[in-house]
Amino acid sequence: MSNPIKSALRAGLFRAESAWDGLVGREANPMYHLGAMSWYFFWIVGASGLYLFVPYDTSAARAWNSIEYITREQWYWGGLIRSLHRYGSDAMVLTMMLHLVREWLLDRYHGARWFAWFTGVPLIWMVFSSGITGYWLVWDELAQYLAIGTAEWLDWLGIFAQSIARNFLTRGALTDRFFTLLIFIHIAVPLFLLFAMWIHILRINRADTNPPRQLVIGTSIMLVALSLIHPATSHPAADLGRSTAILDPDWFFMALYPLYDTKGPAMAWGVSIGVTLLLSVMPWMALRRKRSSAAEVLASHCNGCGNCASDCPFGAVTIRPRQDGSPHREIAVMQPDLCTSCGICVASCNKSNPFLKGDPHKTGIDLPDFAFDLVVKRVSARTHGLTGPGRVLVLGCDHGAVLDHLKGHSVGVLSLPCTGMVAPSVIDYALNKDLVDGVLVTGCRPGECFHRLGPEWTAMRLAGERVPKLRGAVDKERVRLFWAASTEVKALSRDLAEFRVQLAEMPKPERPEGTARRVAE
């Protein structure tokens, strides 16, 4: 990453997330599930909104009273639901904005990921529109302020035949029909939002839309407690004959309104449209970045097993019937536009095996810029000449902790596009051929993987929970996982040192006599 400010911010993010991990435990850290948390808050807001819709009175004269009835007469139940509706919405704005900033800091917005980023931008408008129209429905002084401000803001465009602000000019100007229209908008926009959220994750394989149970339970308790201790209440009823003076706005939704009040509609439109346009074109502002070639399927080696399609984080591989006379019924088909060149599919292919004969090593799906054969050759090269007890090969990724400084007489390093590209058979190979005494696998921490799912798939493969599995005969004591962000170089060094001590204390493995140490090219 070339931008030093962004690099510093990203390092700060990693440190903050590490500290948060230490405080609450990794499973309960919402930073790794911000998108999923937004989904969860959406469901809370939707469910509580359904309840509020029933007793709400869609009339100018009785809207405020019906909300007061829900809040005070149905207390605690109605008031609790109303508070959950409000605080759930606020929490959704918070997690959504954090999600946006975090994805930008982690550079997850360009290349094949443009679609998720681009389709995420309208979601911001929809969430804010839903929230603002919801506040109108209360029809208190805050609603009056928002209604008039929004109407004046929209009128400035001059595209409406009638002035919207004139609906709020005098006490008699506002009709019940306006509230009927308003509640229709307040329901329709979230429905469109749900549809747009589905589109947002359409090109993401196994999108994280359900936060871990710990987070769900903890957040739910937090929201209920907040609702009981500090319930949402209304301002005095709106009165179009009296101006609004001192207000208690919901700043999660209304931060732009003071800008409109002080700088006028042109500035408010300029900022909102400008930010929207900037966000929308950001994926293409990163054009200077070199984009690696997409993975390619080698038809002669593909047996259509589907592992690559299952593992690809972005659904870039699909399995289709094959018609080339092969005994295999299906074949993997790449969609290059969706490929991030992570190499996870290469490791998932059961033909990515250095024990299989062939030079070069061919596999069913491969990266043109970093072929599996090159991985095998580099493993041999980087382990060639390692001496001493506790010889270790460190396999890592280009986005986690930098590995170069770990190199030494007993340590060889190999950085891959993603740790998910580490085929278990490569580890087996390095140990079986006595190239090293142990293999340390590192990379981005789960949830921070630049390519998505690399650490998760790798951990499951090495634990024998996901194909291709690390062979049962491999001594698991000689394979170690240590996820390290780019800021955790020292921690990785310490772990490597511990691992080497542990390896040095282990007895030399017995090998069949015919197993010769492979000499690097």
Partner: protein
């Protein structure tokens, strides 16, 4: 299994989360208008008079037209831009000329202004030019009004009565 220290940490973290949401959901307070002031709104939509005079059609011209279109006068669609001015206590506080809406400039001209004024007695003079004579104002009105704090006072134009309205 959650570690005990993580339970304590989660309590701290969720409390911080709740405080953040609870606080910014209604604080800090925002001062929109000064409570001691009134609000004066000038809002009207008004179609200016047609540009040029209407011309009477001759019987021959009417006979050539389809029966459903035989109106006695032929008038242009375009309307005049409307100029609106307002004085408050002898001082000009609003002056704007708005062109008619629509591609053919045959719609209404729109004005909107909202301003705080000190509560108390004020003299307002409003004038509007919507005709073909650029030297005169076709509508004028003057009013002395006493405004209460936070009162919203609206200056509009009543199209039915053809004169300014104050409410």
């Amino acid at each position: 299994m959650i570690k005990p220290q993580h339970i304590a940490g989660q309590i701290v973290a969720y409390t911080a989360f709740a405080l953040m949401i609870g606080y910014f959901a209604s604080r800090p307070a925002y001062h929109h208008h000064a409570p001691e002031n009134a609000l004066l709104k000038l809002s009207l939509t008004h179609a200016g008079q047609r540009v040029g005079e209407c011309k009477d059609r001759t019987p021959e011209e009417l006979a050539k037209m389809p029966p459903n279109m035989r109106t006695k006068q032929s008038c242009g669609r375009e309307r005049n831009a409307v100029t609106l001015e307002m004085d408050l206590d002898g001082k000009l506080v609003f002056q704007q000329t708005a062109r008619p809406a629509g591609l053919s400039a045959d719609g209404r001209s729109r004005f909107y202004d909202s301003r705080e004024v000190p509560a108390g007695q004020h003299v307002m003079r409003v004038r509007m030019r919507d005709g073909n004579n650029a030297n005169i104002f076709d509508q004028k009105a003057e009013l002395t009004v006493t405004l209460e704090p936070r009162q919203v006072f609206v200056v509009d134009f009543d199209e039915e009565d053809g004169k300014f309205s104050f409410q």
